[in-house]
């Protein structure tokens, strides 16, 4: 293991210990058997008609500098796991959220807190729409989420 990777592994190990004691309602760890990539399911708990009864799959990718660097977090599409509709979520699962960017990320955040932020981002949304330019972006984008400069035009959504 690279010397830097130990830093991430140590922290993720601590997170796993904490997760084994329980996660908040609506968040389930699906796969966390290594320190590079985890899968989690999240649900929106209130009765928001946009997301009621649905489960969404999140993929976390951790670099060796996690949690100094943010993890890469995307929604993953599966037969029973759609991509939630939201003005900041592209239909390919890429999320435009400032806390996941270098500027908005704080190393105090963790997997659990990111899941909770995404839960509340969905809970508070009433717009049944994708981000502007979704189609074009999804067609043209070949970059990884961390290499995309998002303009966080509206952090209230």
């Amino acid at each position: 293991m690279a010397p830097g990777a130990q830093f991430a592994a140590k922290r993720l190990g601590k997170e796993l210990t904490k997760i084994s004691k329980g996660l908040p309602a609506g968040i389930v760890l699906v796969q966390g058997d290594n320190f590079e990539e985890w899968l989690l399911d999240i649900q929106v708990l209130d009765s928001n008609p946009l997301y009621m009864g649905q489960t969404y799959r999140l993929k976390f990718k951790f670099g060796s500098s996690y949690p100094i660097e943010p993890p890469e977090v995307v929604f993953v599409k599966l037969p029973d796991r759609p991509i939630p509709i939201h003005p900041h979520i592209y239909s390919n699962g890429i999320i435009c959220l400032d806390l996941l960017g270098q500027q908005g990320w704080s190393p105090v955040q963790n997997v659990e807190s990111v899941c909770m932020s995404l839960q509340s981002m969905l809970t508070g949304n009433t717009k049944n729409e994708r981000p502007p330019g979704d189609e074009e972006f999804v067609r043209g984008n070949r970059l990884r989420p961390k290499d995309i400069d998002f303009y966080y035009h509206d952090n209230n959504v």
């Binding site: 830093f7 997170e15 100094i68 592209y90 330019g133 984008n141 303009y151």
Partner: protein
């Protein structure tokens, strides 16, 4: 002042190609392009310094690393004397105030303790940054705890272990290039990690990078200063053109390293097209690259015998090696027709109304229209690159010829001038096609197209002479022709740029897209790099 003249000719490549070079005298001694005399230089266009300046010429000044350092030192010394604080503190305060000396002095005179505190320079020794071992401390980043775990916090009290803090700072400094404005690692806390804390925490291997970045803040904090984007160039340029003026002027500056770029958007010289059109055009080209790529390819088939021909020089006059057919690379038409009907190669004839009525034809016309301009844009871009190669090759041959014919190095410099003129003019021509693509017809477009055509013909003529075999190049008669053509090309370029810049400043162009000045892209993702 001889040194000033040298400086000038090195700074402004436009000066050696001005129509009347005796005018250079007017600029001697004006090493700073009159910048200091005119804090808001009114785009430098109405300035009268003894002669009428061409409209695209703007005021700017080049600073080398030593100049930048000296300016910082001067400001630091001044604040050090006025406020009677140490130079180290003066530097920290100036960075904190984004090098706005006046505001710093004013605020400091009002309430020294508050200013010092805000900049992380509180006077009480109790608040000097230091590492601490606190009982019961748990680091929220690595989740470690344990006796003897050294930790650190800035004023806000958000405390993390030293390892995590160092890791965090190293990420910010090394990966994100931040130095003067690194925030506390805590979520939502925007307190800046002050310079003293950084000095305490930053490891020796990061120190150099950190101080280098600190020095960069001087240029980055000032709207009137920008780094020269040429790789390995350490110079900065000062220019008073503001963002809101970018729909009126294309602020082109040239560094001592000879790199010519736009002060507005940092891209290479894109006169006469305004920054916003350039942005739109480059985006369009990237989006449409699949349709357009085949056109910019280096090879084409001879229209007569279909053998593959590779373009190996900058000239558009192609002669098929196999069948000797002569044609124009741009339009594939007969070269012999280009003496009189050059128009078909430079101007796009709008298709007739009947054809346009058909929706399908319409979209084809719009694609054709785009391809027409793109083709010419890409052709000049490519030719400019090829012309450079040719010069490198020619230079070698000229060295050889010098030995054989006894011509001096000075005597062969005319080829260097020709090569530079070709590249500069092609770069301009290239952007005239992007400009023309967005240009809506009015009574001025014809003059523009004539200027474009004149420049293009001159450039193709020079390019053709330039490609002659070395033995012919040494002929004194051809040498004179090349020199004449070189200065004619430069003259045509200046006429075109002057005309377009003047009309841009006067708002007399109509574009078929909205030119909003400096509105940033609104919302949505943009791809970095």
């Amino acid at each position: 002042m001889d040194s000033d003249d040298d400086f000038m000719s090195a700074v402004s490549s436009e000066d050696d190609i001005l129509p009347d070079d005796s005018d250079n005298d007017d600029l001697s001694g004006a090493e700073d392009f009159d910048f200091d005399d005119e804090p808001d230089p009114d785009l430098g266009m109405s300035k009268d310094i003894g002669r009428k300046r061409v409209a695209y010429d703007i005021s700017f000044k080049v600073y080398q690393p030593a100049d930048i350092e000296k300016q910082q030192d001067d400001l630091i010394n001044e604040v050090n004397m006025i406020l009677n604080i140490s130079k180290e503190e003066a530097a920290i305060l100036l960075r904190h105030f984004r090098w706005n000396k006046e505001r710093l002095i004013e605020d400091y005179m009002d309430a020294p303790p508050q200013v010092l505190e805000a900049a992380g320079l509180a006077q009480e020794s109790a608040s000097l940054p230091r590492l601490e071992v606190q009982p019961g401390f748990v680091c929220d980043i690595c989740c470690e705890e344990g006796p003897g775990l050294a930790s650190f916090a800035i004023k806000c009290g958000h405390r993390y272990c030293v390892d995590c803090y160092r890791h965090y700072l190293s990420q910010k400094i090394k990966e994100e290039g931040e130095a003067a404005r690194i925030q506390c690692p805590s979520d939502g806390c925007d307190l800046i990690v002050d310079a003293r804390s950084l000095d305490l925490l930053v490891t020796p291997e990061l120190k150099e990078r950190y101080h280098e970045l600190l020095n960069r803040t001087y240029v980055e904090d000032k709207d009137t200063l920008k780094w020269c984007p040429a790789p390995d160039c350490q110079n900065a340029i000062e220019c008073g053109v503001k963002k809101k003026d970018l729909d009126k002027v294309v602020p082109t500056v040239s560094c001592l390293c000879a790199h010519r770029f736009c002060f507005g958007c940092i891209l290479s010289d894109h006169q006469p097209a305004p920054c916003e059109l350039v942005k739109k055009w480059l985006k369009k080209c990237a989006d449409d690259s699949e349709t357009a790529n085949w056109i910019s390819a280096n090879t084409k088939e001879c229209p007569k015998c279909n053998s593959t021909i590779e373009k190996n020089g900058g000239c558009n006059h192609m002669t098929c090696r196999k069948c000797k057919h002569e044609f124009c690379w741009m339009c594939m038409g007969l070269w012999s027709e280009h003496g009189t009907s050059w128009y078909s190669c430079n101007r796009f004839e709008e298709k007739s109304g009947t054809e346009a009525r058909d929706a399908q034809a319409k979209s084809r016309v719009s694609l054709e229209r785009y391809l027409h301009y793109y083709n010419r844009y890409a052709n000049h871009e490519q030719s400019a690159r090829l012309d450079k190669d040719i010069y490198t090759k020619t230079e070698k041959k000229m060295v050889q010829l010098q030995k054989e014919s006894g011509m001096s190095w000075i005597e062969v410099q005319y080829l260097n001038s020709a090569s530079q003129a070709l590249q500069t003019c092609r770069q301009t021509l290239m952007w005239t096609y992007a400009f023309a693509f967005y240009l809506a017809r009015n009574n001025l477009t014809e003059i523009f197209e004539d200027n474009q055509k004149d420049l293009e013909m001159a450039v193709e003529g020079l390019s053709e002479m330039f490609e002659k075999p070395v033995t012919e190049l040494a002929d004194p008669k051809l040498k004179v022709e090349i020199m004449d053509k070189t200065s004619y090309c430069n003259k045509r370029r200046i006429i075109l740029l002057d005309d377009t810049a003047q009309n841009l400043a006067d708002g007399r162009w109509t574009f078929n897209v909205e030119l909003t000045g400096s509105a940033p892209a609104s919302g949505g993702p943009s791809n970095r790099r």
